[in-house]
Amino acid sequence: MELKQFIETRKKSKSPLVMTHVVCGYPSFEDNLKELEIMDEFGVDFVELQFPFTEPAADGPLFVKANQVAIEQGVRVGDCFDFMKRVTDRFSFKVLMMGYYNTVFKMGHERFVNRLKEAGGSGYILPDLPIEEAQELHQLSLDAGLTPVILMTPTNTDQRLEQLARAAHGLVYVVARKGVTGGKTQMSDDVAQFLSRCRKFTDLPLGVGFGVSSKEDIEFIGAHGDIAIIGTAALKAWEEGGAEQLRAFFSQLEIQPN
């Protein structure tokens, strides 16, 4: 499985790896490209390309707005795949589709997997698709060499973490706290403890998301997990000061070079 090898290779020289996020077509595809150039420049290892959806119930205010504006501007699912193709052709980081299950469901599982594959995607994250509902899609994806990324969360019981671990592939997206995207997470003992709980059930690399925004966060994740996932903080920087601010943001994170 492509993604797994990629992670193993990178992990040899770098801790933690870094994943970032853009919402397709927000503010525009041109801006997306500029953001991605900067991310690439700073050695980002993965990027989530979020396909905008009208009902982004798991997202916080900034992403909600981004989803909404993108749709109002006419961004279609086809545009997102086209954009993904351009991105994967050009950059060396791995690209994951991020979005809501209805985008996939409406298109049909098979068609989705094919289009994602054609667009050069490595996998996807669908936060509203529980593993019970995901079997067929996951199997199709795995057959096509795509990684379905699942989430582990602090409210899960051990039993549930074990189930999740069994269904996991490539990496695990560890939700560091309750709530939606966007809020600040205190990278505390609780998070560390939760990461070691996850570790008990899976050997897969652990990506840690929700609120990562500082050098300290990155270091913390380096010590307790494998991949720092940066979401809202980057978009906020871009909104506040465009390319310059985004560059400053990444600069202070002191991400290790590849």
Binding site: E55, A57, P130, T153, T155
Partner: protein
């Protein structure tokens, strides 16, 4: 027909519809809710406690009223009405809400949240929270806050905090999203009082369970009053809770035809209505935690909807209904805004009832069909709520000049 006796591995599914598409973080909360609800259902005293609460607090049983004047005027079937408008807070929404209040108490949660569109469910939830002593936050699309200020006023005075949701269409569906966001952050202390038979399992089942009190009563009452079962039962369908409520009382009576009445808005054509099953514009999708027919585009993004009745103005529908439609058990029809305002006028003037605009959709359809039926056939309409609380909407719908003038004068009095 036991809709809730799920097949192994298909819990929460009604045919291919339903399920629980929730973020992983809610899994344990949903499990907790499911097992609490199961315990309640199996507790022989629970339903009695619920029924007693509804009797003493909300005035149940609500009556069935015979409408001789309307029946005569239409010249066909004899029309009877189940009077959910006589509930405390003015609609059937209180049934579900008080039931979920009992659940929240059992769950030991001191805080409740709810979405609301028209405001009825928020009003009912704020009322329940006052009664149970819960902290309460109501999410309501900003558009709805602006047009439904009376309900907001009461909710606030009942002690609830009302949050105007500024995302998306700024209506019901966006309020639901915002509620989910609150819930995923506060599930330890908070019960989400979902307002209709939608959302992830077990909500469609829970809401249907509490609303079934309507149908249980109605079945007994219509037989007492009319001497036999009705030939047709009409209910409006927003999310589907009042319809599920009354239909459950007749599901096993094959002779009773069940008709779900959706919002025809300004007529057929995408974006002009909220008819998910009566019109061909919706398709199967997964959103807001469940699989059903949604009014959505080819990308799976949701379409705008339109209806004179805020409570029916919603993209999705209880997952139980596409199943019941496929089974041939429920027939769907839509009533347009114009048909609804006409029906409202007629029902007010002939029988002295003021149904909510939502409920008037059921009347409107019954009014279309009754004349084609014979005089010894029987119709039962579910009047899910009363319209007098929605005077702003009704006055707008009826385009009343005196009203506008009154408001302009009142504004001057308020320093406009």
């Amino acid at each position: 027909m036991d809709l809730f006796d799920f097949e192994e591995g298909r819990e929460g599914y009604y045919g291919q519809y339903g399920g629980a598409f929730v973020p992983e973080i809610l899994t344990s909360t949903i499990e907790e809710l499911k097992s609490c609800f199961k315990a309640c259902k199996e507790d022989p005293g629970f339903w009695d406690e619920f029924e007693q609460l509804m009797q003493q607090y909300s005035g149940r049983p609500t009556p069935v009223t015979y409408l001789p004047n309307l029946s005569k005027k239409l010249g066909g079937a004899q029309i009877y009405v189940k009077r959910e408008d006589l509930n405390h807070t003015g609609s059937h929404k209180i049934n579900n809400v008080m039931g979920q209040g009992l659940l929240a108490k059992r769950l030991g949660k001191p805080r409740v949240i709810a979405e609301t569109g028209a405001g009825q469910h928020g009003f009912a939830t704020a009322t329940m929270a006052a009664k149970f002593g819960f902290e309460c936050k109501i999410y309501m699309g900003e558009v709805d806050v602006l047009r439904q200020r009376p309900n907001v006023f009461w909710m606030e005075n009942l002690g609830a905090e009302v949050i105007a949701v500024k995302d998306g269409q700024r209506t019901l569906k966006d309020a639901i999203n915002e509620c989910m966001r609150d819930w995923v952050a506060n599930m330890d202390t908070t019960h989400y009082v979902l307002g209709t038979a939608c959302g992830p399992h077990p909500f469609p089942e829970i809401v249907s369970y509490f609303q079934s009190i309507i149908g249980k009563e109605a079945n007994r009452q219509i037989q007492e009053l009319a001497g036999r079962l009705p030939d047709r039962v009409y209910a409006c369908v927003g999310g589907g809770s009042n319809a599920m409520g009354i239909f459950q009382g007749f599901l096993d009576d094959d002779s009773v035809e069940l008709i779900g009445c959706e919002a025809g808005g300004s007529g057929t054509g995408i974006g002009h209505h909220a008819a998910r099953l009566a019109y061909p514009d919706a398709s199967v999708g997964v959103a807001q935690g469940y699989k059903t027919f949604f009014l959505q585009d080819d990308d799976g993004n949701m379409l705008d909807t339109e209806s004179v009745a805020a409570g029916l103005d919603y993209i999705g529908i209880s997952p139980i209904f596409p199943y019941l439609q496929e089974q041939g058990r429920v027939r769907f029809a839509a009533a347009t805004n114009d048909e609804v305002t006409e029906a409202l006028r007629l029902v007010m003037a002939t029988e002295g009832l003021i149904p909510a605009l939502e409920s008037t959709h059921a009347f409107a359809r019954a009014i279309v069909e009754a004349p084609e039926m014979s005089k010894d056939e029987i119709i039962l309409v579910n009047q899910s709520g009363r319209g007098d609380k929605d005077i702003f909407t009704v006055a707008d719908a009826l385009d009343d000049d005196h009203w506008k003038c009154f408001i302009r004068n009142k504004a001057v009095e308020y320093g406009a």
